[in-house]
Amino acid sequence: MKQVININFQGRVVPIETTAFEILKNYTDSLGRHFANEEGKEEIINDIESRIGELFQERITKGATCITDDDVNAIINSIGRPEDFEPMDDAQPSAAASSSSYQQQSNTTSTGHKRLYRNENDKVLGGVCSGLANYFNIDVVIARIIFVVLLFSGVGFLTYIIMWIAVPSTASAEIGGTRKKLFRDPDEKMIAGVCSGIGNYFGINPWIPRVLFLLPFLSFLSRWGHWGGFWDFGDVIRFTFSPTSLIVYIILWIVIPEAVTTSEKLEMKGEKVDMHSIKNSVMEEMKGVGKKAEKFGKEASGVINEKAKAVAGDVQNFSRRSSGGLGNVIAMIAKIFAYFIIGCVCLAIFGTLIALIVGAVKLYPLKDYLLDGNWQNASAWGTLFFFIIIPFIGILIWLIRKITNSKSNSRMLRLTFISLWIVGWVCIVFFVSSIDKEFSRKSNLQDQEMNIINPKANKLIVTTSSTLERTGKRYRWSRFESFDEFLDEDTLTIQNIKVGFIKSPDDSFHVRVLKEARGFSRESANANASKITFNVKQIDSLLVLDEGITINKNDKFRNQNIMVTVYVPVGKQIRVNGDYFRKIYFNNVFNINDYDRDNDYFDDNKWQSGVDYIMKEDGLYTLDGRKADGWNDREDRRRNAKNNRSNTYRYDKIQDSLERRQDSIENRNQQRVDSIEKRNERVKDSLDRQLEKEKNKLENSNGVILNTEPGNLSANIMPGVMILPDIN
C-alpha cells in the first residue's frame, strides 16, 4: 500500500506515489547540480522536465491511475543519470532498450487530445491568435483577421482578454509552476460547465461568473423593445454587452476542453495559488541559493566574503524571484491596459476620420456656397485628401501589416505618409485661415421696420411660407438631412433666423427686421448683408416669414442672419407655429458673441414654438400664468412630441390627440371667425356705401330722412351670415 500525492509538474497535475516522487525529486536535484555551471542551465532542465512530463502524460492517458516507482525509474533510465552523461559509456544496454521500447510506445499511443496554448514565438499581442491557428490548423492571418473583425463588435476584445489570461503560454514551463488549467466542469454544469470551470480556475463560487454572464443578458432582454435611442450611451453599452456575453459563452464553450479524465479534473482544480505555495517555492529557492553561496564562498576562501556573497545572492535571487512571479503578472496587466488604451485611441481616431470623410461627402454639395476662388477650392481638396484620407489609409495599411505580421521595410512607407500628412497640415492651415478671413469682418446692422395692422383677434400667429415643405426630399438616414432639405439646384436656404418678442411701446404690433452678414472687409460684409432678401407679410392675424435666407452660388454663405423682433402690445397673445426656427442656428456656430447685446432681451423673451403666450407688463407669460421660459416650455413640448412619436408607453395618447384636435379646431374656428368677421366687415362696408347712396338719393329726391342706422341694418343681415357650415 502506497500513498499517492498530486504534484504540479511542468504546469500539469500528476498523481504520483510518494516514493516515486522522492526518486523524481532526487533526480531533478541531481540534474540541477550537474548542470549548475552550464550556460542555459534552466533551459536544459526545463527541456528534460517537459520530456518527463510528456512521458508521465503518456502513462496517464494510457490508463495508469498514478505514476509508480517503476515508471519513474524507467523514465530516468531512458533519459540517463547525470553521471552517465559526460563520459557517455555504452554500459547501459538495459536503459537503451527500455528507452527504445518507450519511444515506440509513445509513437503508437498518441491518443491524447490537443491542447490550446498561446504561442510565444509568433505573437503580436499575447499569442492568442497564433495559438488558436495552431490549434485549429489554420493560417495565423485568418485567425487575426477574424479577431480584428470581432473587435469592432466588442466581442473579440473580451474574448481575447479572457483567453490571454486563461490560456497557458508555451513559455510558461516554469519548474513546479502552480498553474491551473481551464477546463469546463461537467460535474457542476448548468449549460456546458463554462462558468463552473471559470469558478474552479479562479477559485471562486461558480455563481459569480454565472451572474456576470446572466446580468447583461437579462438587461438585454428587458430592453429588447426599445433600444432605439442610439445616442443614449447607456443603451450602447448595454447593447454591446448583452449579446456579447452570449457569444463569449459560446466561444468559450467551443474553445475550452471539457475535463473528462480524473487527471484533467485534478488539473482543473489545481493547486491553489496562495501565500503558502508562494512561501514554499521561495523557501526552495532560498535553499538552492544557500548551496550556491557556499560554493562561491569556498572559492573565495573567506568567511566574511562567503557571508556577503550569500546575502548578495539572496538579494539577487529575491529580486529575480519577484520580477519573475508577481512582476510578470503586473507587467502583463500593464500591457493589457496599455494595449487597451492604445486600441481605444486608435479606434477613436479611426472613427473620427471616417466621420470626417462621411461629413465631407455630405457637405460636398455646400462647397460652392462657401468656397470662393481656386485657391480655397484647392486647399479644401488638399485638406480632404492629405489631412483626412491619408491618415485613414495609413492606419488601414498599418493594421493590415500588423495582422499579416509583415516585417518588410516600412520606413519608406512611413516617411511617405508623414510627408503627405504634413502637406495636409499646410492645406488645412491655409484653408481654415482663408475661410476665417472671409468671415473676419461683420457688417453693420441693416434695419427694416414694418408696422402691422392689429389683427381682429387678440392673437398674432407667426408662421412661415412653406416653400421648403417639399415632399420626397427628406433623407432620414443621417443627421445631415437639413442640408439636403434646404438645398435646391442653385440656391441654399439657411434658417439663420432669430425671432424674439418684446413689449410694444404702444398698443399695436410692430415688426423689426435686422440683417447682418460677414465678409473679408466691412464693405464686402455690408454688401453681403444688403443682398439678403427676407420677406415679412401680414395676412390678418398671421405673420408670414420666409422660411430662410436664400443664398446662391455667387453670393456665397457668409453667415447671413436675420433677427426678427416682434413688438407685442400688452394683453395680446402670440404664438409661433410648427417646427420653425428651431432647426439650425449658424449664429451659434459662427459668432456666439455677436449677439450679446441682443441676447439680453432675447433671453427675457424665451419662447417655444407651438405654445401660446400672452404679453404682460414684464414680459411673456404662458396662458396658464407661468413666466415664459424657453427651456421648460421646450421640455414640455419635447415630451409631447416624443409621446406622439412613440406609442409604446403612452397612457395619455387619446387625451393628447384630443387636445391637439381641440387645438386645431380652435385654430380653424379662429380663422373662420376671422374670415367671417372680415366678410361682415366687407358686407357692412358695401351696405354702408349703399345706404349712403340711398340716403343721398332720398335726400335728393324728397328730402325725407329715414331712421336707418347702419348698425341696425347690419344687425338685420348678420343672422343670415351667421349660419355657419360644419365648423368641425
Partner: protein
C-alpha cells in the same frame, strides 16, 4: 606475493578499461555534434526523433546528453526551434538548422570527409600490410 600481483593486475585492468571507455567516448563525442546536425539537416526534428534515428544507426545516445548539446548548439545560433503542439503533453520543441548552422555543418562535413579518408587510408595501409604479410607467409 601472488596476492599483490592479482591486486596490481586488477587495478591495471580497471585503469585500462577506463582509458578505453574514455577514448571511445572522446571519439563519439567528436562526431556526435556532426551526427545530430546531419539528422536535423534532413528536416525539422524533435529530440526523441533524433535519438530514434541515431539508435536506428546503432548510435546509442541518452536524452540527458542530447538536450544540453542541443541547447549549446542553439545558443551558438547553429540551431533554431519552434513550438509544435503535441498530441500528448506539453508542446514540443522542433529544431531546425539556421544558415549559420548549415555553414557550420558544411565545414564539419568537409573535416569529417578528410578525417575519414585519412583514417581509412591509414587503416587500409595496415590492412594491406597484413595482407602482404599473409601473402609472404603463406607460400
Amino acid at each position: 606475493m601472488g596476492r599483490s600481483t592479482t591486486k596490481y593486475s586488477h587495478e591495471f585492468l580497471k585503469k585500462e578499461a577506463m582509458n578505453i571507455d574514455n577514448t571511445a567516448s572522446q571519439m563519439r563525442k567528436g562526431v556526435l555534434e556532426f551526427c545530430i546536425l546531419s539528422v536535423i539537416k534532413q528536416g525539422e526534428a524533435y529530440p526523441s526523433d533524433i535519438i530514434d534515428k541515431m539508435k536506428a544507426a546503432n548510435f546509442n545516445l541518452l536524452e540527458g546528453t542530447l538536450y544540453p548539446l542541443l541547447t549549446r548548439l542553439k545558443n551558438a545560433e547553429f540551431l533554431t526551434y519552434r513550438w509544435v503542439e503535441s498530441n500528448s503533453g506539453p508542446p514540443r520543441k522542433y529544431f531546425s538548422l539556421t544558415e549559420k548552422g548549415a555553414a557550420f555543418y558544411k565545414e564539419l562535413e568537409a573535416t569529417w570527409n578528410e578525417l575519414s579518408n585519412a583514417v581509412k587510408a591509414v587503416t587500409d595501409i595496415d590492412a594491406s600490410n597484413n595482407l602482404n604479410n599473409n601473402n609472404f607467409n603463406n607460400p
